[in-house]
Amino acid sequence: MCVHPRVMSNESDRERVDAQCRSMTAQWVRSRAEADPSVRLCEFFENYDRLGTDADLRGIYTLDDLKAAGQEHGWCPYFLARHAISFANVVVYNYQYMLDPKIANLVSRELEDKSIVVFDEAHNIDNVCIEALSVTLDRGTLEGAARNLGRLAAEVKRLKSTNVQRLQDEYARLARGLGLAAGGALAGAHEGGRSDAEPSTALAAASAAAAAAAGASAAAAAAESGPASDSVSRPAQAAAASAAGPAAAAGGEDLPAAPVLPTELAEQAIPGNIRNAELFVRFMRHVVRFLKDRIKVAHVDSETPASFLHRMGTTLSVDPKPLRFAYSRLNSLLRTLEVTEVDEFAPISLVADFATLLATYPKGFMVVLEPFNSRTPHIPDPIMQLACLDASLAVRPVFQKFQSVILTSGTLSPLDMYPKILNFHPVVRASFEMSLTRPCILPLVVSRGRDQTPLSTKFETRDDQNVMRNYGDLVVQMASTVPDGMVVFFPSYSYMETIITAWHEWGVLERVEAHKLLFIETKDIVATTLSLGSFRRACDSGRGAVFFSIARGKVAEGIDFDRHYGRAVVLVGVPFQYTLSHVLRARLAFMRDHYHIREQDFLTFDALRNSAQCVGRVIRSKRDYGVMVFGDMRYARQDKRTKLPLWVQQAMRPAHLALTPELAASVTARFLREMAQPEDAEAAVGTSLLRLEHVKSLEAARLADEATAEKGVAVGGGAAGSAADAIREALAGGFAAEGDRAKPGSSDPEHAAAAATAEAMAAVSYPPRGAAGATGLGATQQSVSAPGAFSGLGGFLDADDEDDEDDAEWMHVLPAAASSAAGTAGVAAVSAGASAADVAAGEDVEDDPGVLSDEEALAAQAEAEAEGLEASSRKRPAPEGGRGLSAPKRAKAAADP
């Protein structure tokens, strides 16, 4: 996101960019620059700091828009975006900004409690949660950590001889308590009231001038405090910077906050034995040495954190308690030492992260030691993983803080699994069918080969030559039937390698290549990107291509094979996870013990959500069509089939549950011919296109429902199909709840969280052009490092552009799948305080009064939004009066003027 020319000369290295940024924007660098003009500062940041904080940002900014604006005004777009979060109405960013405590505490802390959080594409949310709290160490990291410690020790020594005062300041500060040294993780804005009263916050005042203290404690006002602190004398400023995370934020790029969750962070003083910088370095040396010893395992081993800590305690004869503070203490030290090249200290940070998590959470984690790296299974390269087993840990603060949380995805099924694994009580949940004018998906289950061999990748039969040969037959049959692009998903890399080798020997690949070019996903991201590009070119030129991919790979999650890029998808087998993985086993055992989820249930659920994700790649808009071939007999079984999303089940016909490859090909050929027929635009009216009268009748029905629904139903959550839709709906105050679906009192009214799925249709109205569509969402919107989310949004708007000339005056109802951002999960938070008045009305407002144009609809809606917001912030108490917007089409009704 940086626009600085010198920094961006080494764009490819993210860490390097971060470090360079820090070296020019850190508080101490800036203050040094005041004394010494030769110190180079970032002019963009300086400009932003002087002027940008008062910038009047209106409208919608995508990542590129922000960059352009930054270039134009000479403001740093990154800090501009960070600043804008505090007043933006809609923010779209990655999951990590909300879920990873290290980042969330810096970025998302200032969001208001009444914000509505929408997790789009939430089907993988549990994995993101787990990743956010897991740490993996290998030998290289530990070596690096040891080196880092050596350097730290030298630095401390140097500082001791030059500026003892600074070290003593730090010591004194730490002695007073943990305070804000944790990077502001604790005294977050959401607990602002309390943090003011805490004695620990006052410590900044002790050593710094009043202005800096104000900056430190008033976290919410942090962004504005930058100029104020310029006037403060240097030592005081340094102390403020290192003591107060929020104030540091005013200075520039700050260090990541503690990896643990705010609620878990011990509000106590850092133990005496690590307060002294030298002692801390020595302590960490012991820890690293122990880890280096421990990692040398000959066989796989796993241990609970408690036993690991106990062993560490007895071996080192130290009390493991200080470990909890390792991360905060390290950050404090790095600040004190005014280290700018933080990227070089990544190994020790990782170790500190590991130690902190290990000591903080006795439950829900597991230390797994493996002697071999999965990439090189024969060369000893031991790794030590601290695996988070409990997905609910990372997401819990979100549920607790925000009043309304919405989970939505096209493939969020079965629905009851998510509340279990994330440990929350949904208020509303709903699953919608796809309302399409024609049956544009064709799910087929191929259960037997040509010779009646059951097709399955289950462990006993997967290496059977007959099975592999029949899979080859299936792929050849489909490749010779389906024009243009086709995707084949394999359950794992190893199986793909095995089967491709076999196919090569048997000439299967040759037969495939007679019809289509062949591209394969590899672990190398560059190679995969290249082959994807070539794949697209082959589809464009009519040569046709088939892409061999992994069901759990990057392609399955993030790449769309829409239109002619994917007319068919073939799933070879059920993509179960690698069940021998120790981390997975530990997680399964944990879930069995704590959430009463049977191992098998979870595995099936996980495999099928992946399958659904894979097959969903081919259909990305209502005009698209595609064949979905489930190549495993197990898909035909009731327990598997019913776990697929409703829109797939709905299209799956009993006759297509046990096909052979040949039959599948002939059904496919017929389907493709039918789908190639011109569409009947009239047929879409009433199902996927709504006229004004439809909208009106739906609105009337909604009002009627609302009247019958009991008042005061505690609800906060919307059922919606896409982030954009949900945001709009939520803005309109339509916190979905139909009387019969809501469960009154089932949740804490303070923090009502609702899970809703949009299996299929949700109403989205949008203006003809993608850009205008984004504008139409209304209000200031900032995208923070979420190009995917935004381009996805834009992409889906664009995707239907082609048919807009003829039906621009119609209200569109799109399949939810179409709206899903391209792989990048979008999280949207809406700050309720800001007004939505600055909606840029669309340009081409239709003159025809009889038909509601999209622009008018949006403008009207935006007004409603503004009203709704005011109403909700003014008089409504936390539990919002539920307004029933359960059916997806009803959401549209909100747009009725």
Binding site: T437, R438, P439, L442, S480, T481, V482, P483, D484, A514, H515, K516, C539, D540, S541, G542, R543, G544, R563, H564, R653, A655, S666, A669, R670, F671, L672, R673, E674, M675, A676, Q677, P678, D680
Partner: protein, 360 residues
């Protein structure tokens, strides 16, 4: 309708599913308030096929320019894929050949002054089996040649991708190999090379392949078709192929995918009507209409004399004398072999007029 097909198209014979609604069609006849008999219910309401046919004909006649002197190249995909695909029994190629035979006859009946050529694409190349001609005879015999080649093709050899005999230029035509859209369009452009600027160049590509294997850029050949104002319509028997659709759309032709043999015939019939002229005869830079003039001769039938050798080396008892050079030719409409004058009878011209002034 497509939904219905999707749901019920299980047995092979239900391609005529739509006909079922005509069963017991007398039940649907009802008497309205005024005592008149009206056809209601299934026949009128649900029959999308009927609706489609009805809507195909414009209710209001709008005057438009249509080129009567049509020059159409029929390009038939004779590669291995359509010859092997059995989803339209006996094979896509056979079905297409039969449909084209009916089409050619009907086309000349509807457009007596048009000329048609036949190009067959196989083995990655395309060759002109019949040059532009004004009568169905040559085309039909060329189609018969394709039929023979289709029958002679060895399924095993085709499946194995063996190009076998016939790939060379000098040898007899053979079915098989790969389909190349570049070769097909290039050959069609070549076949239409002699067409004067006022003539409408059209190509009708009947394909049954799911892929095209080209040695050069497809985009370039599409651009050259656009540049040379050739309108390419594609009728596919294999569903929608992106590049075919693109070709049709960019050259302002039409893309259609046939569901079954009857539907294919119907789609081909749609090409009986000449396309609207947009470029030819448009107003020139100075505002004057650039309607090109074409000389036409109405020859006399000369009968009774003894056998006479025609310029095309055919011995005949009767023929037509060119009004300009008195040279004799065997058939009208045609071009005089000597002076190049377009020869036709008044009846031909009159019969072509129904496209411009349809019987209401």
């Amino acid at each position: 309708m497509s939904e219905k097909r999707g749901r019920e198209a299980e047995t092979p014979d239900d391609e005529y599913q739509w006909e079922r609604q005509y069963e017991r069609s007398w039940d649907t006849v009802q008497e309205d308030a005024a005592g008149r008999l009206v056809v209601g219910g299934a026949c009128g309401e649900g029959s999308t096929e009927w609706k489609r046919r009805a809507s195909a004909r414009p209710s209001v006649f709008t005057p438009s320019r249509r080129g009567l002197l049509r020059h159409l190249v029929v390009v038939l995909d004779c590669s291995a894929a359509p010859a092997l695909a059995r989803d339209l029994p006996p094979s896509r190629l056979t079905v297409a050949t039969l449909a084209l035979q009916a089409f050619v006859a009907g086309f000349f009946a509807a457009n007596p002054v048009a000329s048609v050529a036949l190009v067959a694409a196989s083995h990655g190349t395309a060759r002109t089996l019949a040059r532009l001609t004004n009568g169905p005879r040559t085309i039909l015999s060329a189609l018969a040649e394709v039929e023979v080649a289709d029958a002679n093709a060895d399924a095993e050899a085709l499946a194995a991708g063996d190009s076998g005999a016939g790939a060379g230029a000098g040898r007899a035509f053979a079915v098989g190999g790969d389909f190349s859209i570049v070769a097909a369009v290039t050959e069609a452009l070549g076949a239409l090379d002699s067409v004067p600027s006022y003539g409408k160049k059209e190509a009708l590509l009947v394909t049954g392949s799911i892929a095209t294997k080209d040695g050069s850029d497809v985009g370039a050949v599409i651009r050259s078709a656009v540049d040379r104002r050739m309108l390419v319509s594609v009728v596919s028997l294999a569903g929608e192929m992106h590049v075919c659709k693109r070709l049709a759309e960019e050259t302002s032709g039409g893309f259609a995918a046939a569901l079954h043999a009857a539907h294919l015939a119907e789609l081909l019939e749609a090409h009986f009507e000449p396309p609207e002229l947009d470029d030819v005869g448009a107003a020139g830079p100075n505002g004057e209409e650039r309607v090109p003039m074409e000389q036409v001769g109405f020859p006399r039938l000369a009968v009774g004399e003894a056998g006479m050798l025609l310029p095309e080396h055919r011995l005949t008892g009767e023929g037509f004398d060119c009004p300009r050079c008195k040279c004799r030719c065997g058939d009208v409409p045609s071009r005089c072999r000597v002076c190049g004058l377009r020869l036709m009878s008044a009846a031909h011209l009159a019969r072509s007029y129904h496209h411009i002034f349809p019987a209401m």
